[in-house]
């Protein structure tokens, strides 16, 4: 039941925030903050619980209620280690998103927070849904409010960016819908039962062309969400034009749903098809790493630069997922969390820069360290973290991915590792152009205050923790990685290999 509350609280809370906003903007902010703190209080204790509903595998919590029994759809939820990590990340980042909007969002405050909470609820739903149709429902719930956030509260070119975001996400949503319907129908053909239950569908034999096409539909949808080359094109513009809170949620959470979808659904549901697509996926990963890194270097808009770095980092994730081994998958989990933290922090910093300088243009920055030392040192720290500096979280993720990938695909691994050189190039040029250099322009020299410093310290502590002592996170993730290699999938793979 706790899982259901985890979703009900932010969904109802969104409505509450909207109503509160009609009377007083401040009330909307406070309500939203309290709602998320409550949600966090629900989520955290689940770490040490075990599911009271019998489900194959290791689950911390489960929930099942009838939804649309006629079509075999149920309100089936389940949380394991990876879900828990991503849900907690979602709530934490959500809290930061509300805090950074405190000064930035002035009009339509209530509706803004409602959209924020609904989008977060959608993301949480995506991470815990175990009914494919329910998953689709949450997928849409996560994206539509985000569309409003970009279109209403975004920057100069928000309309264009919002349309692009809408087209790409709805396109991939359509692919998901078609794929899960097709999967359910195959399952019905094989067993005579129409169901969208994840554990039932996992039993489906998905060999052959149709299985491959279903896999391809989901793969494309998730890879669009992951913003892999060459379907990344929605990301730079959307992240750049969204308000700070929107960019933070997009980069820290929404990208992760793509990776989660690949690990939770594509690989276990269609193992053979996924394995046969692996070479393509790996090369796409390498392409993303290099393409994102080269493009990041050339940007003159700091926010866009960071957006392109996400493409590069998600390339590592794609490689990690498609080498199908535990070490790399552990790396993927760590990298998802670490990237969520470091990139979230960077977007918060860019938001503060824009708030002070009224520009994101690197040509007009330079020498910020002289005027804003605290902001600049945090900026440098998180850029170095995202560059993969050993001792910080992102490195652990990338290192484990490369370690896991080496045995399976040495060439890919070597090229991916070479991609760390352009990563250093864009990271350092960003530091140079934003923070170093002469301070020529007169500007607001109001440095980070207590609220911003506190946020940064929390995020910095988290990224250091992940870097020096990732073991607890690895332990949380380990059982759920077994969930993602369920017995039917491994059996099917063995069958194919034997035959």
């Amino acid at each position: 039941m706790m899982l259901a509350w985890l979703l009900i609280v932010p969904m109802a809370g969104g409505l509450l925030a909207w109503l509160a906003g009609l009377f007083n903007p401040l009330a909307a902010r406070i309500v939203s903050l309290l709602i998320l703190l409550l949600d966090l209080a629900i989520a955290l204790p689940l770490l040490h619980s075990t599911s009271n509903i019998a489900m194959p595998g290791n689950w911390m919590a489960g929930f099942n209620a009838p939804w649309i029994p006629a079509f075999g759809m149920s309100f089936r939820l389940g949380m394991d280690g990876v879900s828990w990590l991503l849900v907690v990340l979602t709530i934490l980042i959500g809290i930061f998103a509300i805090i950074v909007s405190w000064d930035e969002i002035d009009d339509g405050v209530g509706f803004f927070h409602a959209n924020l909470l609904w989008s977060l609820a959608g993301a949480i739903g995506v991470f815990v849904a175990l009914d494919m149709f329910l998953f689709f429902y949450f997928w849409e719930l996560m994206l539509v409010p985000m569309y409003f956030i970009i279109a209403i509260w975004g920057h100069e070119n928000r309309r264009r960016a919002a349309i692009k975001f809408f087209l790409f996400t709805q396109g991939s949503g359509l692919l998901i819908l078609i794929s899960i319907l097709a999967l359910a129908f195959i399952h019905q053909q094989q067993t005579g039962v129409l169901t969208f239950n994840y554990f039932e569908l996992i039993q489906t034999h998905t060999a052959g062309t149709l299985g491959f096409l279903i896999m391809l539909g989901l793969f494309i949808a998730f890879v669009v969400k992951l913003a892999s080359f060459p379907v990344h094109v929605w990301l730079p513009e959307t992240h750049t034009e969204a308000p700070t809170a929107g960019s933070v949620i997009l980069a820290s959470i929404l990208l992760k749903t793509g990776a989660y979808g690949l690990m939770r659904f594509v690989v276990p549901l269609m193992p053979m098809a996924a394995h046969s697509l692996a070479p393509v996926a790996l090369w796409l990963g390498v392409g993303s790493i290099l393409y994102g890194a080269f493009l990041a270097y050339g940007q003159s808009d700091l926010k866009k630069l960071i957006a392109y770095t996400s493409i590069s980092h998600m390339g590592f994730v794609l490689i990690g997922v498609f080498v199908f081994n535990n070490i790399a998958w552990q790396g993927v989990v760590i990298l998802l969390v670490a990237h969520g933290i470091s990139t979230g922090a960077l977007f918060i910093i860019v938001g503060s820069v824009q708030h002070r300088l009224h520009t994101r243009d690197l040509a007009r920055m330079g020498g910020m360290w002289t005027d804003l030392p605290r902001l600049s040192s945090f900026g440098t720290f998180f850029i170095l973290a995202s560059m993969g500096l050993p001792g910080l979280g992102n490195f652990v993720g990338e290192f484990l991915i490369l370690r896991g990938a080496w045995a399976m695909a040495p060439l890919i691994t070597v090229i991916a590792a070479i991609g760390l050189i352009p990563a250093a190039m864009y990271s350092l040029i960003a530091i140079q152009r934003a923070f170093h250099g002469p301070a020529d322009e007169e500007r607001d020299t109001h440095d980070f205050g207590a609220r911003e410093t506190a946020m940064m310290l929390v995020l910095a502590a988290a990224i250091i923790y992940l870097g020096v002592y990732p073991q607890p996170v690895l332990n949380v993730a380990a059982p759920s990685l077994n969930n993602m290699q369920p017995q039917p999938a491994t059996a099917m793979l063995k069958e194919t290999r034997a035959g």
Binding site: Q330, P390, P438, V468
Partner: protein, 623 residues
């Protein structure tokens, strides 16, 4: 005492955290004190451990301290643990003691600079990362320190960030070394996959047990590690960053780019020498590369006019000697030269900084002159340092360590005599270029205004290091000078017993004569005004070539940097995005076409309806 080992890297880290969090509000005196004391305490602790070690060495002459489990997965685990043996103990002593002196010097040198506490925060962080590098018992952990020192070097080279040129130098130093680090990372991945562990001792034992000597795998693994080391240690072909790194404050050059970080490559090879012994061809390549580096750098040193650049090239060249020793398997000789070099090169850099303090940050040797009487402390310190760098016989530490290397090279079975000849040529060139500086700076008329005076915080490090540069050589002496072997005996549990192989008497005699000849040449050219004339006339193309460090920068700019930037420019607007925009254009074009059919003419609509009906009927009839 030894169980407090973890405090050695932790103390400077703590100092760095304190300075980073509270530095701006602490004021310069307290910042300097925290920075210096944290390293000072680590030095005291290191010396206490060393004394205990000398009295009662632990079993097998090594001590392991596992702190916590970093990554523990089925099939792959890494512990955060420290490993102390004579090699790492020696490194720790040099890093903390020289580091402490340099911190002390910096408190006076950096006085009045903006970002005073930030400077010490970075410097402390560097020391901590360097200590982690040498104490790590796992290659992955070593890599953490390895990249950590790289980042600190980057931050400190670009410390005066308002100058864009400093930023460029800083980025160059980091990116070039990161290229090397990627090789090393690949080496780590290879070793981890092949041998299942990165714990250094287990990995080496596994390598020796699994791989026959001379086979491919150890050669590949050793080459990859070596490339990492070459980058960090500024050796050909990854040496180009070091001269530019002189943009940083001079104490940084002394600590990072002379005494400690740049010798990390030497340490890495010594630490994993069992792996390199399985790959004789790689060792040969090391020796040959070392000779190239030491000559390229020595020639470059001959024609520089900036005192720090002379010292930078001399560092490159001296590390070349260390790699030469590694190439012939003379591990203790490499470590010995590392130690003496750390002392005399730190001394030279600090003295150059001390001179600059009094001369309004002048670094051009041709603008100086006559400082012998004006700055006696600097003169004597620089002279002692130069004597050691040039390896002047008996009186200098550098003499003993260079003799040890050249003796081992001459006795090596490989084309040892050729390498030895190159080493001797290098030794002569070294004496010429450094005494060129000594004569230009300290003799002749005074050309500059001199202001201020030295405080104790400058004097103590200079005097201490001068004393060191005179005496540390006596820890290991050739047969004819007492045959002292304390140093190599101390290291022997870690790297094996070192034998001074018998060579003909000509070898040491030539080694003594070469530097003396070099000094004489330098003096002659100084007296007849050749140096001074060269500074004022248009340099020849050969001079320009040598001065640029033999044109590596030009080559890399043309072959790597320019294409890279070209690609960045080409992709800047995201061509894939533009392809997707074609879809939009297509939709708009179709829209225009279709709109043209809806122009309100009933006649046309009627004819379309007609056509449609006919088509439908036709399909129904014939399908």
């Amino acid at each position: 005492m030894i169980s407090y080992l973890w405090l050695i890297p932790a103390l400077p880290l703590l100092g760095s955290v304190i300075l980073g969090m509270f530095g701006p509000s602490m004021g310069p005196r307290l910042s300097g004190a925290v920075g210096t004391l944290s390293v000072g305490l680590a030095a005291v602790l290191a010396m206490a451990i060393a004394l205990q070690w000398l009295g009662h060495p632990p079993a097998h002459s090594m001590y392991q301290q596992t702190l916590w489990s970093w990554i523990n997965l089925p099939g792959f685990s890494i512990n955060v643990g420290l490993y102390l043996d004579p090699v790492s103990l020696l490194m720790v002593l040099v890093i903390t003691i020289v580091g402490c002196l340099i911190h002390l010097f910096s408190t006076e040198y950096m006085e009045g600079e903006d970002g005073y506490s930030r400077f010490f925060a970075y410097l402390n962080l560097f020391v901590s990362a360097m200590l982690l590098l040498v104490l790590a018992d796992d290659l992955a952990l070593l890599f953490v320190g390895w990249e950590g020192v790289g980042v600190c070097s980057y931050l400190l080279v670009g410390f005066w960030f308002s100058e864009s040129a400093n930023g460029y130098a800083a980025r160059k130093s980091f990116v070039v070394t990161r290229v090397a680090d990627i090789f090393m990372l690949a080496g780590l991945l290879l070793l981890a996959t092949q041998l299942g562990t990165l714990n250094i001792q287990n990995m080496l034992a596994g390598a020796v047990a699994t791989w026959p000597s001379g086979s491919l795998m150890p050669a590949v693994a050793a080459s990859l590690l070596l490339m990492g080391g070459l980058g960090k240690s500024a050796q050909v072909p990854l040496q180009t960053w070091l001269p530019d790194a002189m943009a940083g404050p001079t104490p940084v050059s002394a600590l990072i780019h002379a005494a400690t970080m740049v010798t990390a490559g030497v340490y890495l090879v010594v630490r994993t020498h069992a792996l390199f012994l399985l790959a004789p061809s790689v060792l040969d390549a090391i020796a040959i590369g070392a000779v190239i580096t030491l000559l390229v750098a020595a020639f470059a040193g001959l024609v520089q006019s900036d005192i720090k650049r002379v010292l930078a090239y001399s560092t490159m060249s001296q590390i070349g000697y260390m790699f030469l020793a590694l190439g012939v398997g003379a591990w203790p000789a490499a470590m010995f030269h590392f130690m003496t070099h750390a002392v005399f090169k730190a001394l030279l850099f600090l003295t150059a900084g001390a001179i600059a303090m009094r001369l309004d940050h002048e670094q051009n040797i041709f603008a100086m002159g006559g400082l012998r009487t004006k700055l006696p402390l600097a003169f004597w310190a620089f002279l002692i340092g130069s004597a050691s760098l040039a390896a002047l016989p008996v009186i200098s530490a550098g003499f003993f360590s260079k003799e040890m290397i050249l003796g081992a090279v001459a006795a090596a079975p490989m084309p040892g005599m050729v390498l030895w000849g190159a080493g001797i040529l290098g030794a002569m060139l070294t004496a010429i270029y450094i005494f060129r500086v000594v004569f230009m700076v300290f003799l002749g008329p005074v050309n500059t205004e001199i202001s201020g005076s030295y405080g104790l915080r400058v004097a103590i490090p200079l005097v201490t290091l001068s004393a060191g540069a005179l005496v540390v050589g006596w820890l290991e002496t050739p047969e004819t000078l007492g045959g002292q072997t304390i140093f190599s005996q101390f290291l022997s549990p870690a790297v094996g017993v070192f034998r001074h192989l018998p060579v003909s008497a000509m070898i040491p005699l030539t080694g003594i004569a070469a530097p003396l000849l070099g000094v004489a040449i330098a003096y002659t050219l100084y007296r007849n005004g050749t140096w001074a004339r060269a500074a004022t006339t248009e340099p020849s193309r050969l001079t320009l070539f040598l001065k640029s460090g033999s044109g590596f920068d030009t080559l890399y700019d043309a072959v790597i940097v320019a294409p890279y930037m070209g690609l960045v420019q080409l992709l800047r607007r995201d061509p894939v995005d533009q392809m997707f925009m074609l879809l939009r254009d297509l939709a708009v074009a179709l829209h225009r076409q279709l709109r043209a059919t809806q122009i309100g003419q009933i006649r046309r609509y009627a004819s379309w309806m007609m056509a449609g009906s006919v088509a439908t009927i036709a399909i129904l009839l014939f399908a």
